[in-house]
Symmetry: C2
C-alpha cells in the first residue's frame, strides 16, 4: 500500500487505547466509545464527544488543481460523517491548518470551505488555528476537530436477518489519494488529463458527501441498526459493526468509472481496491427488512442513490464482499 | 521575524471572524468569545468551548534531542493554559499527529506525554488521529484540541487600580523556536552545546508549565480580574485584557539566562524579544490590591514564582513594559 502502513497503525492504536483507558479511569471520568468512531466523556449529564481527522494527501492534489475550498469542506464532512455513526449529533467544529508559508488566498479558500460544509451540516464554527511552519510542512495540512453530543442509545451493531444497504458516494472522497498519486505519477499522467473519457481534474476535486443529516434522520426514526462511514481502510470499517456471531454478506455494485480506471492504470488487486477506496458506496447501513422502503425514500430525499446490497447472516464476524470482478473478498 | 508573519496572520484572522460570525448567526447558534482565547457555543445550558493549538517548530528540536514526550505534554499544556484564561474548565483532549513515516517510538513518546499532561491537568483523553503523510510532513506536527466548559462569569478584563502579577515560566515554553533555531544555526551551535554555562539541551527541552489548576483556583475564588497566557506574540497578548480606557504598566524582572543568551547570540532587539518570548513570565494576572497576598500564597502553593510587576492606570489601551535593558516597550 502507498502512504499508510495499517498494521503498524493498528499496533500503535492498541497502545494508545490501553494508556488512555487507564488514565480516564484513574481520573474518574466516565468515558465510552474508545476504539469506535468517536469516544465521549460524561459531563453534567451530557455525553460529549471529540473527533479529529484531517484531509491528508488529497490537499496536494487539490492545491495543484486550485481547489483548496474543497479541503475545508472535506475536513468538516469527514468528521461529521464519522461522529453520526455512533449516534452523536455534531455541534461545532474548529480547524487547524499547517502551511509552509503564509498564503492568504489558500487560507481563505479553506475557511470558506469549512463554513460551506458547516452550513450544510448545521454546526457552529468556533475558530481555529493556522500555523506557518516552513520547516515542518511541505504542503498544506487541513485538520478539523468536531464536538458532538451522543444523545441517543444507538448501539451501532448489526443483527442476524438485517438487510445491508449502501448509499452512493460523491467519488473518491478523501481516501486513497496516496495510491492515486502513485499510480498517476508512475504513468506520467497529470491531474488535469482525461483518461477513458474521465476528466481527472473533476473527479479528483470532488468533495466528500455529507451524510450526517441523512444518518441523523435514520437514527432519530430508529430505522437502522448500524451505520458505517467508508473512509480510511474502506470496507474493513464494516468489521466495527459486525459482531462475532454474524457475517455481513454484500453484493457490491459495479463501481463508478474512476475507480476502474485507477485499478487498471495501477494494476491494483481487487482486494486492495476495496481496502482503500469507497468504490462508489460511501456509507453502509443495516436495518430490519420491514424498514427498507422508508430508508430508501429517506436516502433519495437526501439526494443519494440507494443500493440494497445484501444480508446479515449467521456467521463468525466476517465481512464478505462479492465483487463484479468474480472475486469474493473476506475481511 | 523568523517563521511567522504576524501581520498577515492578523488580516487572515479578521477575515475568518466575520465569515464564521455570520454563519453562526444564520444557523441560530449562541456563540461567544470569537477572537478571544477560546470561543464557546451554548448547548443544553452549557457553554462548550473548543480550542486547538499545536507545538509547532519546537518538535524539530525535541526530535533531535530525543524528547518527543515533551511535545505531547506541551500540546496539552498550551491548550489548557489558553482555555482557563477565559474562565473555562478543561474537560477533555484529542490529539492529532502528522508524521512523514510511521515511527512507533516517536508516536508512543508523544502519547505518553499527552497522558502525563492530561493527568496533571485532570482532563480525559478521548483518543486522536495519527496521519502518515510522507509528501506533506517534513517533521512531526503535534496538535491538540481541548474541550472546555465555560462555567463562570469571569469577564477577563483589567480595571484601573489593579495590581499586575507575573507567574514564572519553565523556560521558553513552546514559543520562539523558529527564531532560536535561526540564531543557533547561523552560529553553527548544536542543540546539545553549552553556552555561557547554559546546557542548551536542557533548556530547549523544558516542557510548558501547566497553569490551568492555578488559574482555576484563582478564578474560582474570584481573586483575579484578568488572566493572560503569554504564548505566541508573547506580551502583545496583554492587549486582549486591556480595555481602551486603561494602560497596563509593568516593570519586567531580569529574565532567566537562556533568554539573554539568545538575545546576545542573535543580536535581537529588546522589542522583538518581548514580542516572541515569555522572558521568564508565562502568565500575567491582574487583581485588586487587597487580594495580592492570597494570590501570592496560591501561586507559591502551585510551585511557581510570584512577581509583583506593576499597576493598571488611567490610559488609552496601551501595554507599557519597562525592561531591565533601559528600554520601555509600548504595545
Amino acid at each position: 500500500m502507498a502512504g499508510v502502513d495499517l498494521d503498524k497503525h493498528r499496533s500503535m492504536h492498541r497502545f494508545v487505547l490501553s494508556l488512555i483507558e487507564s488514565l480516564n479511569k484513574e481520573l474518574g471520568f466516565e468515558v465510552s466509545g474508545i476504539g469506535g468512531y468517536t469516544a465521549s466523556v460524561k459531563y453534567s449529564g451530557l455525553n460529549l464527544s471529540l473527533h479529529v481527522d484531517g484531509v491528508g494527501t488529497k490537499t496536494i492534489v487539490l492545491q495543484k488543481l486550485g481547489k483548496m475550498r474543497v479541503a475545508g469542506w472535506d475536513c468538516v464532512a469527514m468528521n461529521v460523517n464519522d461522529v453520526v455513526c455512533d449516534g452523536a449529533k455534531p455541534i461545532a467544529v474548529v480547524d487547524y491548518i499547517a502551511m509552509p508559508k503564509a498564503d492568504e488566498e489558500t487560507f481563505k479558500d479553506i475557511v470558506e470551505g469549512v463554513v460551506d460544509a458547516a452550513r450544510v451540516a448545521r454546526i457552529a464554527v468556533l475558530g481555529g488555528e493556522t500555523a506557518i511552519l516552513p520547516d515542518l510542512a511541505n504542503g498544506v495540512d487541513v485538520v478539523c476537530t468536531v464536538l458532538a453530543v451522543r444523545d441517543s442509545s444507538f448501539s451501532n451493531t448489526t443483527h442476524i436477518g438485517d438487510v445491508v444497504i449502501g448509499v452512493s458516494s460523491w467519488g473518491l472522497h478523501a481516501n486513497g489519494y496516496s495510491l492515486v498519486r502513485k499510480v498517476l505519477e508512475s504513468r506520467n499522467i497529470g491531474y488535469s488529463s482525461t483518461i477513458d473519457g474521465i476528466n481527472l481534474a473533476d473527479e479528483l476535486a470532488k468533495p466528500v458527501a455529507i451524510y450526517s443529516n441523512l444518518v441523523r434522520d435514520l437514527i432519530d426514526q430508529r430505522l437502522v441498526t448500524s451505520v458505517a462511514h467508508i473512509t480510511g481502510g474502506a470496507f474493513t470499517k464494516l468489521k466495527r459493526v459486525t459482531p462475532p456471531n454474524v457475517n455481513m454478506v454484500l453484493d457490491m455494485p459495479k463501481p463508478p468509472k474512476i475507480f476502474e480506471a485507477i485499478m487498471e492504470l495501477g494494476n491494483i488487486s481487487v482486494d486492495e481496491m476495496y481496502r482503500v477506496f469507497n468504490m462508489g458506496v460511501g456509507l453502509i447501513l443495516t436495518a430490519s427488512k420491514e424498514n427498507i422502503h422508508d430508508i430508501e425514500n429517506i436516502i433519495k430525499s437526501h439526494n443519494f442513490e440507494f443500493y440494497e446490497l445484501g444480508r446479515v447472516v449467521d456467521g463468525s464476524g466476517k465481512v464478505v464482499l462479492n465483487t463484479v470482478y468474480g472475486k469474493t473478498i473476506v475481511f
